[in-house]
Amino acid sequence: MKSALSILTVIAALIGLWYAACVPMNIHEAAIQAQRAGQEVTPAEAPERRKMGRIALAVKNPGLWRTVYEQDRPQLPAPHQVGAELWKTTWGMVERGRAFSKRSLILHGWITLSATLLGFAFGTLLGIVLAVSIVHSRAMDMSVMPWIIASQTVPILAIAPMIVVVLASLSVDDLIAKGVISMYLSFFPVVVGMVKGLRSPDAMQMDQMKTWSASRAQTFWKLRLPSSAPYLFASLKVGVAASLIGAVVAELSLSQDGGLGARLLAGSYYGQTVQIWSALLGAATLAAVLVWAIGLAQGMTLRRMGFQR
């Protein structure tokens, strides 16, 4: 109850801040529109207005404050504008029976989600396989680990289009191409977490296995793998969020297929800031839901395994 209250307080504060920021962000446009409508604005010259700065301009013209929230293409749309757009493109579309039309955020969210989950599944698999081989082979540890780390220092935004082009020339399906980029981002936290988890049994536990003459495989299945569960779940949370970012970035290069990334791109193309923000919030919500779902699985599994009580 108390935590719900504090969460609501934080959200209210953020929204308040957002509304406040709309005033200086949209004040220039508000001034231009007001002048066109024949209203007085001080100062009257646009270059002068630019020179004096947004905040000063806002202070000088309190009469414009209301109109900063009613623009078609505001530099910073207000929360209720984004909310209305979100509503219109989700539930509004469902009501009209067009949940999967091109204008529906549900369709685009679904497109992003499928690439995200595909990439996440393969990223997790790849991460686990790499972690297992790193833990069991010193050579792998020495030779592959540096490459894995190096792979993450490459800016994904730069190489995503190249990967897309290469895969397209191999006539790979677009969904798989997007999944590859998601996988590229999501396998890394899984490798790091799993390596740590598989190495988490202490010297005593390893000695204990030795006193029973356990084989490496037995030590792996009965001790290392179960011990790694808390680490795996922590990395999965990071991994799924990274996977979503990968999917959105990939959609910038494959925008003809739609998806939240494509909405972002189209929005910025046509100066549709409201659309950009609603796609952004849509992506954030999707990420939150995915992380929450993994948290749920984590809680259930770890409680059952006795790691948490």
Partner: protein
């Protein structure tokens, strides 16, 4: 006279560390007979753990020889000659008590059909019948340690090596477990090697007390315990008991005097 179950001859073990060599065991010779209950006592760092680990093939001696049941420690381990109990119970939280006891049986490849009998028997031995379906966190520290002893007994090893198994428990629980351990030893005729820091514990439990001293780790005295096998807890107030405890204390002091 039968052959000793554990035979150590002029054991030497030097660890190479960054701060130079550490002489953990020097010229340690000891025979442990079948059915003996041998306690190892001595100040921290005198090599008690190291000796037990050499016997269990967890550590390689740099000199001398050990045999267990006439075999090398590795062979003895493969022949399931001993169970090892660590200071920390080390039960797996994701397995029930039964599941934990079953673990060595699975690993050693016992047929599935035999698991239940083995588990039931050792649960009885440590008085945990009825707790098999519980998870470790549902048990007290003392019960967890009993479960770990049960696990070490599950595969019918004749030798039980215990490294301060009750070190982390409070005195009352410890008394109780000591009593139970004696009972278990009496019933099963195991050979037990037992590391402790407590003089009363060593005297109460053992047939022989090995007093060790550090830098280099060595045996300074071996005291035969003349107490009868039948030992109620209040035997610890008898003059015979106090006499032996006194001898152990003297032995420890003598070992220390060497040092300074």
């Amino acid at each position: 006279m039968s052959e000793p179950v554990i035979k150590a001859e002029n054991l030497d073990l030097t660890f190479q560390t960054n701060d130079g060599p550490v002489h953990a065991l020097k010229d340690v010779s000891l025979d442990i007979m079948k059915g003996d209950f041998v306690s190892f006592i001595g100040p921290s760092g005198c090599g008690k753990t190291t000796f037990l680990r050499v016997v269990a093939a967890l550590e390689q001696p740099t000199g001398g020889a050990v045999s267990v049941n006439g075999m090398s420690p590795e062979e003895a381990r493969k022949a399931r000659a001993y169970g090892y109990v660590f200071q920390h119970a080390g039960l797996y939280p994701w397995r029930t008590i039964r599941g934990n006891i079953q673990l060595p049986l699975e690993i050693m490849g016992f047929p599935k059909s035999e698991w239940k009998d083995h588990i039931d028997r050792v649960l009885d031995l440590v008085d945990l019948r009825g707790f098999g379906k519980k998870f470790p966190w549902q048990l007290s520290g003392g019960m967890q340690q009993r479960a770990s002893i049960a696990r070490a007994l599950a595969f019918d090893a004749d030798i039980l090596l215990m490294d301060e198994p009750f070190g982390a428990l409070d005195e009352i629980v410890r008394d109780h477990l000591n009593e139970q351990l004696l009972e278990l030893w009496d019933k099963t005729h195991k050979t037990i090697g037992f590391v402790t820091h407590s003089i009363p514990e060593a005297v109460y439990l053992s047939t022989r007390i090995v007093v060790m001293s550090p830098r280099p780790g060595r045996i300074t005295d071996v005291i035969e315990n003349t107490l009868p096998r039948e030992r109620p807890l209040d035997i610890r107030d008898t003059p015979e008991f106090l006499e032996i405890a006194h001898r152990v204390r003297e032995g420890l002091r003598a070992g220390h005097a060497y040092d300074d």
